[in-house]
Symmetry: C2
């Protein structure tokens, strides 16, 4: 059966979308690695009743462990520790040793950053953060907020609750200590290895894949397959226990045989990984000249540590003058065929490679919208060219969605064109 957990993410700023929740997904993946299934992630605002309702729901649905994130700060709207203590029937009291520890941390931080803090305000915030439910273990603070492991009251059946801070930079380093806590270990004793494999296709519609899966449902026993279309890529993620490995291997083979042309990652690598690995393996360098994406491709190519081994740089040629000045696109050409054209995309790709002395140049020019479209060149039209080994690979695509969608999708299309060029040797 295995162990199951539930995650409660608190924070009105997350509930209302001002901040994207990074903790739920991160914890879910860490739990999966530990062989633990996640039943649900519940996002609630900073309201005691809503936090309590979420805890009740998860406790009632029989999870073995609840993990909360957020609501451990010094301000009055940070109330998770207190609510969890009350929920477990364990009143909180001041842990003076912890209070002294947090005070020391804040003094060190303030000195380093030159803050002059109001002593009374700081002391009040620290006292709040040092309140510990009776019988809970404290997880040492990474920032200023300590985490907690709060066991159930002996008289009430409930799962233990791990209370973690909201900032991912504090939550993530604290996780190993939480997982190592004896009460957490005991709660997750039923954990069983849960494997996850990812296959990615580029250019296969989801309904085609659905048909393939239906036609081969004999191999799906013991596999939990989910498919998802993102930025034009079709991602197939399969989760299974060790016993179902042979079935998974057969599924992977079926997909490889059915989609030889669109399968670009049989092993979970992202398109970013595939492009970076190919550049590294071939010892080639790359440079960009971007109009509508205006640096997003260069920014993405450099997301990875070590990318300076193959990314030389790029040109953000948002204005037509920049296209001419920086990338050497003839003004006459822009005048004649327009900035959004196959000709200009090619001139940009060649200009990027030439100006930066790179083996591969990428040119992108398009209409991200929402304005600037025409009947002939509608919003979402993007021209691409990848130049390298003396060859060019060009593509024009009509991308759907908002300005942000068009720009993001354009970056993905460009990465796939680079992959194509590199795979041809």
């Amino acid at each position: 059966m295995g162990s199951r957990t539930g995650i409660v993410v608190t924070g009105t700023e997350v509930l209302t979308g001002r901040v994207t929740d990074r903790n739920g997904p991160w914890l879910a993946e860490r739990l999966r690695e530990a062989g633990v299934d996640v039943a649900a992630v519940i996002v609630v605002g900073d309201r005691p009743d809503d936090v309590r309702d979420a805890l009740s729901f998860l406790a009632g649905s029989g999870v073995d462990l609840i993990i909360t994130s957020g609501g451990l700060g010094p301000t009055a709207d940070d109330l998770t520790a207190q609510v969890v203590g009350e929920f477990q029937g364990r009143p909180s009291s001041l842990d003076t040793e912890l209070e002294a520890h947090i005070t020391a941390i804040i003094e060190r931080l303030s000195a380093g950053r030159g803050w002059r803090l109001d002593p009374a305000a700081t002391a009040a915030g620290t006292r709040k953060q040092a309140m510990v439910p009776d019988g809970a273990s404290v997880l040492a603070p990474v920032g200023t907020a300590p985490g907690l492991v709060v066991p159930p009251h002996p008289d009430r059946p409930a799962p233990p609750i791990v209370v973690l801070p909201g900032p991912p930079g504090e939550l993530q380093p604290m996780w190993p200590a939480a997982l190592a806590d004896p009460i957490v270990q005991q709660a997750l004793a039923g954990a069983a290895e849960l494997r996850q494999r990812t296959i990615r296709l580029w250019g296969t519609p989801e309904s085609e894949l659905a048909a393939t899966l239906r036609a081969h449902d004999d191999v799906l026993d013991g596999l939990e397959v989910t498919t998802c279309l993102r930025d034009g890529e079709l991602e197939i993620v399969t989760r299974f226990g060790a016993a179902a490995q042979p079935n998974y291997d057969r599924l992977a083979q079926v997909i490889a045989e059915t989609y030889p042309r669109t399968l670009f990652s049989p092993d979970g690598r992202t398109i970013d990984d595939v492009v970076a690995d190919a550049l590294l393996a071939q010892g080639r360098t790359i440079a960009t000249a971007e109009s509508c994406t205006a640096g997003l491709l260069a920014g993405r190519l450099t997301d990875r540590p070590g990318s300076s081994a193959y990314v030389l740089g790029g040109l953000v040629v948002y204005s037509n003058a920049a296209k001419t000045e920086l990338a050497g696109v003839p003004a006459e050409l822009i005048e004649r065929v327009g900035a959004v054209s196959a000709e200009v995309a090619e001139a940009l790709a060649r200009g990027a490679a030439g100006r930066l002395g790179a083996d591969v140049g990428v040119g992108i020019t398009g209409i991200a919208g929402p304005d600037g479209g025409s009947a002939e060149k509608p919003v979402g039209l993007v021209h691409f060219c990848v130049f390298g080994h003396g060859r060019t690979l060009a593509r024009a695509v009509q991308l759907p969605g908002s300005r942000a969608d068009v720009r993001k999708r354009a970056v993905v299309v460009a990465l796939h064109l680079v992959r194509h060029l590199l795979s041809e040797g």
Copy 2:
């Protein structure tokens, strides 16, 4: 009291963090605009039991309306419509008119994109998507998936459930029709105006603000204040009914008087808005030269429609050769003081402005990590320079966190420096 809703986001890809949930936050904000409060957003995987549990929890917690997103696709793991129908005690049957409508959409899409679909597979997927719970209203598809409004069974007390597709590009255009549905309108009859105002500070620690709020708790009546530190900015969001407007006005005044130097947005504008508005108002243009952020600042400056009015372009100078070739940074200078230095940041800012003929130039050079740091120049050290009106504004900052954190925070610091330079006339 007002109306309350709950949102269920389905999708193993969201639960496991492979895809970021954009629907929960988006719906929460639309609901707030409609005067409706959101109790919780629950993310569950594509498992019927987990979806059912989430519906039960929200129904049991007394919300007036439940909204689901996702699980309406043609594949077998898309099961929301069926689960919701069963939950409401309304068995599904094939809507042949809807089936014909979806078939027509798919034929049009395939023709446009040159897909050759397997007819049997497509028909099976379409039939699945055209199954409608008895008594539900259909919301016309934007992609291929129709939405649903499924009322409770007359014999069972439960809130109505709005079933929406997962892709934001389909969900968002469908929302107005969902909101206009008579059953939804009736469920939300208790909606009352709920105002939300945002104030942003740059450089004030959260604990200082907490002290200010504690000292002025007489004005907090009827205000729900949440504070949140993101990318170094302190965001104060307050939600309140119309009657509490005078209290909010007093709170805003207290903050303005207490933090005159760090308050940069009294009116909810983001730093991106403030910079764009200042550039537009002053008729100035901007250009960038980025090393460690490698295009992310240029990409962000061009997020906004119409940014071509002030963004000319930029230089991504990841390699030292690119710094010299593109931005004219003397190789001798890099050799002497190092690429990550105040001198090189200034040369980049001047180079960007000069090469692109812009009024304002921004230079960024730093160590994003995780490697490449030293005792003298640790990971996270970033030098900035903004050049314009013949003046330069320089800053060196030690940024915390991962490589991605450092790069993102560096972009925010750069935007604030641009704001400072522009605010000085």
